[in-house]
């Protein structure tokens, strides 16, 4: 009942704000349904989550995980809570993307942020640049068992900004290939053990997708078109050519238009020329088409593994193929960060490190959702290596490529949405690859020209 009322009030107040309803009508409607104004206000209040920081031994943790990830995170939090009954863990889950980073930034700017929070590795740099994060103390970390040798060197290096450690990686989440085992078997793409044979080079990949298309009668592969996935696919292929978008400081444009156009042309060959991949589909559509066997492959992040296990789709997973010169797959990493405190409470800080350490050591639970554990003792454990299909692609972790740093890049950034937007027309057969690259370049130039106060 309460949530219904809450929704109703939300809806009405939304109407008032958008001007579709006058304030008088709002009051009349709420009165008509028997809600007094004070009750309405109380309901509105109740929808905010209180995150008061640190009385006694509390620990406030913010994250952005929904769906299967969210359920696993809660499972791990509960395990932490029962192992550490003296620490009162308050976990707050916020909406992924802009809403999350907006709130983390403002809380840190206001001086009363959560004790510990999740950030994408690619967004950590932007937060650190604005002085919104506290660095980790390496000695304190060592005392809870978090040391450099427990992580891949490249990932550990990424977690630094200006020579200081700002993030502790929980995982790496690369762009991968899901494949339907029944379809791929009929198409002759599986080896004697039932695993996907290695597909290498643009021609071999196109041929494989054509033979899969003959089996399904619909598509060889699917990937989301109306969303950021075109960027993930583009950046994977573009990085396989060894090219960069920005200089390491993120200030200079290094995009190689010839290579970029070659990559986008290849992607357009998939959806337009050869029609082995679907046009026009959104994220849910791509998942539904693969789940129902209308496509032999799905190219996506590895986080949908539980979806297909639940649906009992006959599937497995493999690294995204090597199409050009050197192996690369686009990825990002979920990390723990310490939002900057106006004054650091030493108990809360110690609790935060305990928490991070516990989460890393128990990240096998996390790995079941598809993410490759960053903590090497877990990633190298026999139990993780036996976890299929999740461990099939764990080997790509040393060769992943993160979005090049810039103040407008990273997961959920303007760069990702604008890049994907610029490529969509070509992928839907409504423009040429050259036009797509031109539009993308114009956007990058415009953003780089903006003068920032940090």
């Amino acid at each position: 009942m309460k949530s219904e009322l809450h929704e109703f009030i939300d809806e009405l107040s939304g109407n008032v704000r958008s001007g579709r309803m006058t304030r008088r009508a709002f009051i009349e409607k709420t009165l008509a349904t028997g809600i007094s104004m004070s009750a309405a206000v109380a309901l509105l209040d109740a929808c905010g989550t209180s995150a008061t920081s640190g009385t006694g031994s509390n620990l406030v943790f913010w994250n952005l995980f929904g769906g299967g990830d969210g359920a696993r995170m809660i499972q791990m939090e509960n395990a932490f809570q029962s192992a550490n009954p003296h620490i009162g863990l308050q976990s707050v889950t916020l909406t992924w993307g802009d809403p999350y980073y907006t709130k983390v930034s403002m809380a840190a700017a206001g001086g009363k942020p959560p004790d510990v929070a999740i950030s994408h590795m690619t967004r950590m740099i932007i937060l650190a640049e604005q002085n919104l994060l506290d660095p980790f103390n390496v000695d304190e970390l060592a005392s809870v068992g978090i040391t450099q040798d427990n992580f891949l060197p490249a990932l550990w290096q990424k977690a630094h900004y200006n020579g200081k450690l700002y993030a502790i990686p929980l995982d790496t989440h690369p762009f991968v290939a899901y494949y339907n085992t029944e379809v791929c078997k009929k198409a002759g793409l599986l080896d004697a053990n039932g695993n996907l044979k290695t597909i290498q080079g643009p021609t071999a990949l196109m041929d494989a997708l054509k033979s899969v298309k003959q089996v399904t009668g619909n598509y060889g592969t699917v990937f989301e078109i109306e969303g950021v996935t075109p960027w993930r696919l583009f950046y994977t292929l573009y990085s396989q050519m060894g090219a960069k978008i920005f200089s390491p400081d993120g200030k200079e444009l290094l995009m190689d238009d010839t290579k970029a156009e070659q990559v986008l042309s290849f992607m357009t060959d998939l959806t337009v020329t050869n029609k082995v991949a679907a046009q026009n589909i959104d994220y849910a559509g791509s998942v539904a088409l693969f789940g129902s066997g209308k496509s032999g492959f799905l190219w996506n992040g590895e986080w949908e593994v539980t979806t297909f296990q639940t649906e009992k789709t006959p599937f497995s997973m493999a690294p995204f193929p090597l199409v050009y010169d050197q192996y690369r797959a686009q990825a990002d990493s979920h990390t723990f960060v310490l939002p900057r405190q106006a004054s650091v409470d030493s108990t809360s800080r110690a609790n935060a490190l305990q928490f991070v350490s516990f989460m890393l050591k128990n990240s096998y639970t996390w790995a079941q959702g598809g993410h490759v554990p960053a903590y090497l003792p877990v990633a190298n454990s026999a139990v993780y290596k036996a976890l299929k299909p999740q461990s099939n692609y764990a080997g790509v972790a040393p060769n992943v490529v993160f979005d090049d740093p810039a103040w407008f890049s990273g997961s959920g950034s303007r760069l990702e949405t604008q890049a994907a937007g610029a490529f969509q027309n070509a992928l839907n057969g409504l423009g040429t690859p050259a036009q797509g690259i031109r539009q993308f370049r114009a956007f990058l130039q415009k953003m780089l020209a903006i003068k920032l106060p940090f």
């Binding site: 579709r20 930034s105 078109i225 559509g285 839907n428 409504l430 003068k451 106060p453």
Partner: protein, 315 residues
């Protein structure tokens, strides 16, 4: 008012005057006391942010407060006016307003006409026409994004069965905004429908009866009785609708999966402001954009209100 009080004061003796002043003072104080709680909240959460926003629009202000002393003068406004994305998104909002407003008025009027007569199941149809308006935007978008899905969506499924070409409802740059308009009309027309229906029920049946006796057909009665008598309703709906349409954001944002639509074709001016303020954290620049939208809405509203005032005088 003050004239009257002054006249009254002149005929009063000085003692009466003192008592009267005293009473007025107390009445005023009580009045102020009633207004004050509201005014404090109003000042704190509306007037102050509006002024602060104006100040921000002249600085290189970021969400985290950095740059709050980096004065740019009109720099943010200059950058806005030279940004083709700003003009493009403003164009999207205006196009949306120009197409959706007449549609919402005509469809609302038409639906009200249909149920404003003794037909079986009248109450049922009234509920149906209004029902979608009660839905939260997230539910509306969820329903339509499945309907619009290519390949297996209901609409495309029907088209394919009829051997018609499938349409990129959400992916074609020429069609995506039309899809947003369809969703908006379906979602919000119930409100206009209700206002029109209420208006029609105020029209006394005698007029229609008299007109019928004089041989007026149903079209003539609508044209010469219903429409003119609902003029005031139409003007009010027009004002509310234009202001609401200029603020297009939530349904388009959700329908395009938090994106800008194919080739930015559904990015409204509000979304442009949102992205600058909350995705790239440039709240100073975003405030400048908000002020421009504010001025546009102000001009449109003044125009419409003067129209309304003229209508009143003529009535």
């Amino acid at each position: 008012m003050s004239d009257v009080t002054m006249q009254a004061a002149r005929v009063e003796t000085s003692a009466q005057a003192r008592r009267g002043k005293d009473r007025r003072w107390r009445t005023n104080l009580a009045g102020l006391g009633f207004v004050l709680p509201f005014f404090i909240v109003y000042a704190l959460f509306l007037i102050w942010p509006i002024l602060l926003g104006l100040r921000m629009s002249f600085f290189n202000w970021t969400l985290s407060g950095l740059g709050s002393s980096d004065f740019l003068g009109l720099g943010n406004y200059q950058q806005l006016f030279s940004d083709s994305d700003f003009w493009q998104s403003l164009g999207v909002t205006l196009l949306f307003t120009v197409i959706s407003t007449p549609l919402l008025i005509i469809v609302g009027f038409g639906l009200a006409l249909l149920v404003n007569r003794a037909i079986p199941g009248q109450a049922f149809f009234r509920t149906v026409f209004f029902a979608s308006y009660v839905l939260p935007v997230s539910v509306v978008v969820l329903i339509w994004s499945w309907l619009f899905q290519p390949g297996f969506g209901l609409i495309d499924g029907v088209l394919t069965d009829l051997h018609l070409p499938s349409v990129g409802w959400l992916s074609s740059p020429n069609i995506a905004l039309i899809s947003v308009i369809i969703v908006t009309v379906w979602w919000t027309v119930g409100y206009n429908f209700l206002l029109y229906l209420a208006g029609m029920q105020q029209i006394s049946p005698e007029m229609n009866e008299a007109a019928s006796l004089d041989g007026a057909g149903s079209w003539a009665r609508i044209r010469w009785i219903t429409i003119p008598l609902l003029n005031r309703t139409t003007t009010m709906i027009l004002i509310l609708q234009v202001i609401a349409s200029l603020q297009l954001f939530q349904q388009a944002y959700l329908l395009m999966g938090s994106g800008d639509g194919p080739n930015n074709s559904t990015r409204s001016i509000v979304q442009y402001i949102y992205e600058n303020g909350f995705t790239t954290f440039r709240v100073g620049f975003a405030s400048a954009g908000s002020y421009i939208l504010f001025v546009i809405i102000l001009i449109v509203s003044i125009g419409q209100f003067s129209l309304l005032a003229r209508q009143r005088r003529n009535a």
